[in-house]
Subunit: 420 residues, 2 copies
């Protein structure tokens, strides 16, 4: 029960969430805010617009958490029942608040609408609850302590209203009540070219730490390690994080490409910009995806000049200068064609580097000799060209093979730029 004494729970009310009609972005926002405030938060619940099930969810949450944050169910329609269900659960009558009624009337007037009977419902709040003002919408929330040691906050489901109310009133309130004691700070290290399990074994000692904690995440070829700690100030947090970060960077070596907001494209871009070098791309199976990644970075025009999407073999020959005989003998998906594409785009655009991709993204087009997932990446430096062969697997799907190809090409250039 000691855990409950300091933990929050987010309860999202709305049948539209159970039908999958909307993403629960409110829960993510509140989770981030709670982490920032250093308020522990162990559970989230989603429940529909149903009195009995909402009551059951309230009963469970009261047992395990001391700060219950509700979103949704404050509107004027009959299926909005968060406020009355809470009042009923704690056995407290609803009372009409004249100041709320006045505020609703004023807002409706400004929009050229008159007060509907259903709007009156929004002025009924549990006796003893404080008003959590809604600066933009008609539905206010409440700040309520129906029992000693239990605090409830309610918000409408509309994200913009919820966020404004959270920031303007809830955060100052929670701070004033001593809920926020030292925030959680974290640093994420990013890796490419190493699997999650291999990295986790290398970093086993760090992952076992209790403070700061180190947690691995993986997805779409990238692996991340998040170092987190709770501290009174950012400086104190950094002091705890820095030595662990240093250890992880050392054991990650070249596989660690950056931290926090870095991407492979931004890291490659920084290196090119610093060394005043440029790059161009020749893309077959990725069809422009590599160029799209590079140009996602603002200011990429400083080092990315462009490229040629050579999806059809005629484009490889006519615009990139790939040898038609080599193409016929080795096939478009071959080491030699990858090299010629990379050198061709480097020469035609006049860039320092040329990067090429040719492969079989699937689902069709694979053979026994050249299965789906086979990809060649060509890398032309100012005076040489080399190719790299990958087998991204026959089962991963077209989009993932394309994404892995483009990111791997960036990673190859990144390593090359470090090693020259």
């Amino acid at each position: 029960m000691s855990e409950a004494s300091q933990s929050a729970e987010i309860i999202s009310v709305g049948t539209e969430l159970l039908l999958g009609e909307i993403l629960n972005s409110n829960a993510q926002f509140l989770a981030q805010e709670l982490a920032q405030l250093g308020i522990a938060h162990y559970y989230q619940t989603v429940v529909g617009d149903n009195v009995l099930r909402l009551q059951k969810a309230i009963a469970i949450a009261c047992e395990r958490s001391r700060l219950l944050i509700f979103t949704g169910g404050l509107g004027p329609t009959p299926d909005d029942l968060t406020t009355e269900t809470l009042a009923d659960f704690f056995g407290v009558p609803l009372v009409e608040r004249p100041e709320v009624l006045q505020d609703i009337a004023a807002k409706l007037t400004r929009r050229g609408r008159s007060m509907a009977a259903s709007n009156r419902k929004q002025a009924l709040l549990p006796e003893g609850a404080a008003i959590l003002p809604n600066p933009t919408g008609t539905a206010p929330g409440i700040i309520w302590q129906p029992r000693t040691g239990l605090t409830l906050l309610t918000f409408p489901g509309v994200p913009s209203e919820m966020k404004a109310m959270w920031q303007q009133t809830a955060v100052p309130y929670l701070r004033s009540q001593g809920w926020s004691q030292g925030a959680i700070y974290s640093r994420t290290l990013r890796f490419w070219g190493i699997g999650e399990s291999t990295l986790a074994e290398k970093a086993a000692a760090q992952i076992r730490l209790e403070d700061p904690t180190v947690a691995p995440y993986a997805g779409h070829g990238e692996v991340r390690l998040r170092i987190s700690t709770q501290a009174a100030t950012e400086a104190e947090a950094l002091q705890k994080i820095a030595p662990v970060e240093q250890q992880l960077r050392e054991l990650g070596g070249l596989d660690c490409f950056g931290s926090d907001e870095d991407t492979l494209a931004s890291v490659v871009g920084d290196r090119l910009k610093t060394s005043q070098q440029t790059v161009s791309v020749a893309e077959s199976c990725t069809g422009g995806g590599l160029g799209s990644l590079l140009t996602a970075i603002p200011g990429s025009s400083a080092y990315f000049w462009g490229g040629i999407i050579s999806y059809d073999n005629r484009v490889k020959v006519n615009l990139l200068g790939v040898d038609a005989d080599v193409l016929a003998q080795q096939g478009a998906v071959s080491a030699e064609v990858a090299c010629q594409m990379a050198a061709g785009v480097r020469d035609r655009l006049g860039t320092t580097w040329g990067l090429s991709i040719t492969g079989i993204a699937g689902p069709d087009g694979g053979t026994d000799a050249k299965p789906v997932g086979l990809v060649y990446i060509g890398l032309a430096s100012p005076d040489s060209v080399e190719s790299f062969q990958y087998q991204f697997g026959t089962f991963r799907g077209r989009e993932l093979v394309r994404s892995l190809s483009a990111h791997t090409a960036l990673d190859l250039l990144r390593r090359k730029l470090i090693n020259i």
Copy 2:
């Protein structure tokens, strides 16, 4: 308890969700799928990577639901503990499955990696549980009935793996077990070039219907109307949906570009393939994003030949033949340059159509005369070329401006292909 006899609960396991680091898109996907299958679903729970709290969440879910769907916590690292916590909760030993171990080894080998000790953990499944195969990743899930009347399904947290496993194995399993009785069927109509509120006003009569229901959704420039109904058979559902679909297609006119799995790129591709025409692209601010959308469609090599990413002005002049004087006088982001890019790529690649994009994606580079969000799209037909000017707004962010540009270019070609 009668309610529990037929209802599902989604339990998302992962501290990253409690820290707000990721959006719980898995829960939305599963919620939509359960609705489609007609399986009732009254609660969702999010809990961190913590044995005690996960056990408490399992205990609560068992009491109120009969089908528990877990996502997350199947990975190889120590904080992945869904499988062992379930086995422990139900008092069943974990058993190493040789077929799973073999599958993991094969997948790692194909990626050129060796088996780490931590990977072995993923082959340990509760005695009596069936394997829920993971076609792409190393972590399989389970289908398990630890008690009469209670079914558990587990999935990894990686969305692409979870979705593939759900569709390939879980859906057929649930249907075979009679979970899906009288399913919800739906048809989604897709629109481009009309705002959500305008479309909602046009379709007001349909949106008021009670059966089938019509619900509007919007995001990233596309608006969708989902027509849904519950019925015993698909034929019965289609009979209810068809007349409403017909009405909505009529009032949507050319703005309705397709339905269900259609994308602008697939619809454009179908038309080009049918008429045996081809297209090439010249991209500046999108940097390859338009080519990437076109080549996301399997078989796109039949009509997409490639293109030129002319990010730097030298590439526009040297490779696309844009007039250097026009470039100097009008600027790269101009109607005339868009036209010359489109005609240039059409001529150099020898395709029927040429499509070009030049614009200011931001956040920098805008001026009073040419603000961020200003985009010109050029469309070259076999014997003419025209340009279209857009202002996608100064506040929408670089990625959205680039995405809107690429999709709008596809939409322009789509309308042209319908009208010729």
